[in-house]
């Protein structure tokens, strides 16, 4: 039997009850559209959390001396080859940054605070939030710069500012205190006040001089694409034999967990919405079939085979889903376009900081998510048609025509 005939019949049957069909199509459209928009928002949150976790001096990977995470300090350091990281191919790597990070106490003429004192190579820090951070004053000029960068929140706590001097005290490799005075080159604005209060930056060589070492405590590596992750991890593990190579997920387990939860949330939301929708679709199809029992019986009587009756119901369901999904995707894209500039969440900035979210939520619509929603919706539409089709074909022609 020709497919075109079945499609023609199914199409016309679909419009027998225009209002019912329009309501069903609207429901599918809104469901698919809302799933896509929510999906884009969740992806935006997910990526915001990941970006924040990676930006916050972690990179995708970080090389550390064994035991540094349990007892951070200059005693847990390692030396780098002057040439950089041999054996690490440039492909897929956006950059890497060596640092010395030690716990320290910063003291202004008014206040004292505990901080992380970090020696950086400013030119390499385009892989972290420092790459595009807003600085009031000047950014560090190089690894030999002896000035420091303070976070805005810390500067407020210390009641200090650009051009003023502060003292930093930390512990050297020998266990003795090291203390030095530094002029504030600039005050930076980070995404969260936690970062601003925690990190004080200066040139890498400056910290090494203070601590009398040539070593670093960490090397962060940032990828251009996630897909290169496993091979770069392998290279790093080989190159830094005996050192600890950690992923951002190891270093930020909370962000990693929320990243995975976002995936699950997308799936759960999709299943809840589409699950409810499928019940509606099954109900509508069963109603449509029961209304046409006589007609289906007649079609069987004049020679339409069982398979064709089943195909007719399935095609009707699939046409409904295709129209509903198509308009739903358009609705989702319009919703996405409307929100594409981002949603200002700065009113909730304090709470967001705890979750690693940035104050502006920029939705991300991934082609793979759209594809998945479309394919799964079609599969669900097909599954939803099985029961009504079964009902349609179960009725014998004679029984149907006697009704």
């Amino acid at each position: 039997m020709k497919l075109t005939l079945l499609v023609q019949l199914s199409w016309r049957n679909l419009w027998r009850h225009r209002r019912r069909t329009v309501i069903l199509l609207t429901t599918i459209c809104v469901a698919v559209g809302s799933v896509l928009v929510l999906n884009a928002l969740l992806r935006g949150m997910q990526m915001s959390m990941v970006e924040t976790a990676i930006d916050n001096l972690n990179g995708h990977f970080k090389v550390l001396a064994p035991g540094y995470l349990d007892d951070p300090g200059i005693t847990k350091s390692f030396e780098l080859e002057p040439s950089g990281i041999p054996g690490l191919s440039a492909e897929g790597i956006r950059g890497w940054a060596p640092r010395v990070r030690v716990p320290a106490v910063i003291r202004s003429e008014r206040e004292t605070r505990g901080v992380q004192f970090v020696g950086i190579v400013p030119g390499s820090e385009d892989i972290s939030f420092l790459g595009d951070v807003d600085v009031d004053g000047e950014y560090l000029s190089g690894p030999d710069d002896r000035r420091i960068l303070l976070g805005h929140a810390l500067a407020e706590q210390l009641e200090t500012g650009v051009g003023r001097r502060v003292v930093l005290i930390t512990q050297g490799a020998d266990g003795g205190n090291r203390e030095s005075g530094y002029r504030v080159a600039g005050v930076y604005d980070a995404v969260g006040t936690g970062i601003e209060k925690a990190f004080v930056f200066t040139g890498l060589a400056t910290v090494q001089d203070l601590l009398s070492v040539d070593a670093v405590t960490e090397v962060s590596v940032r990828l251009t694409e996630e897909a290169r992750g496993p091979s770069v991890l392998g290279d790093l593990t080989n190159t830094f034999d005996g050192l600890d190579v950690r992923t951002w997920q190891d270093l930020e387990p909370q962000a990693a967990m929320m990243h995975e939860m976002a995936d699950a949330t997308v799936s759960i939301w999709f299943l809840i919405v589409m699950g409810a929708l499928i019940f509606g679709l099954v109900n509508t199809l069963v109603t449509a079939v029961m209304e046409r029992i006589r007609e289906l019986g007649m079609l069987r009587a004049i020679g339409m085979r069982r398979g064709a009756v089943i195909a007719q119901v399935v095609i009707e369901s699939m046409i409904t889903m295709v129209i509903g999904i198509s308009t739903g995707v358009v609705l989702g894209l319009l919703g996405f376009a409307w929100l594409a500039e981002g949603i200002d969440l700065s009113a909730f900035a304090e709470g967001l900081e705890l979750t690693g979210l940035r104050p502006e939520l920029v939705p991300q619509l991934w082609a793979q998510d759209v594809f998945l929603v479309v394919v799964l919706s079609l599969v669900l539409g097909f599954l939803a048609s099985i029961y009504p089709a079964h009902r349609a074909v179960r009725v014998q022609p004679l029984d149907a025509m006697r009704r």
Partner: protein
Amino acid sequence: MSDLVVECRRVTRVYGDDGVAVRALQGVDFRVAKGEWAALAGPSGSGKSTLLHLVGGLDRPTDGTVVVDGEQLNDLSESQLSDLRLRKVGFVFQAYNLVPVLSAVENVEFIMQLQGVEPAQRRERALSVLDQLGLSDIGERRPGELSGGQQQRVAVARAIVTEPVLLLADEPSANLDSATTLELLALLRAINEERGVTIVTATHDPIVMGHASRRVLLRDGRIESDEVMSSPAWHA
């Protein structure tokens, strides 16, 4: 007996289980020769519709055999029965049973679509049959826009367009007034006489019985009388 289109031998049809079994037909022998128009008559529950359905392959006998155009229906699978109905039997139902979402011409074409006839050919044949039945001006209308008589004529057009060997009509005049019934019967007569299509009708209607060439009276699941009408109504 090669000119037999229908041959029922000792056909019994029992509905229900042993507790409330209804014997709709009891060992009926019934034959229809090519070109005959047999009217199955009898009161309600006499078994005429049951016999018609068995002959049309819509039902299976509990016992006995049914042969249509040389094919023993008892041996056919469900899909083979569908094929037989599609290719050899035309049905006209009491309630017309046209597909409401298709126009008159599409309803006539529909059965040819099921048969896989090429689009151009089926459209030509459908229009030709509608024209022959005086329905050419209502071809594009849907069943809901047609009178009962027009719908039944379209149903007849659908039944004969594939040139079946057997046309079965179950109470074809039940929903029609007398004038329309006479028009329909004239149409069936022409199909029977001019095209040589064998017709079996189940009817309560004396007007229909009067137009058939043979009247088979059933009562309580058995054939009570079987008479060839020497002068059907239209010859009178």
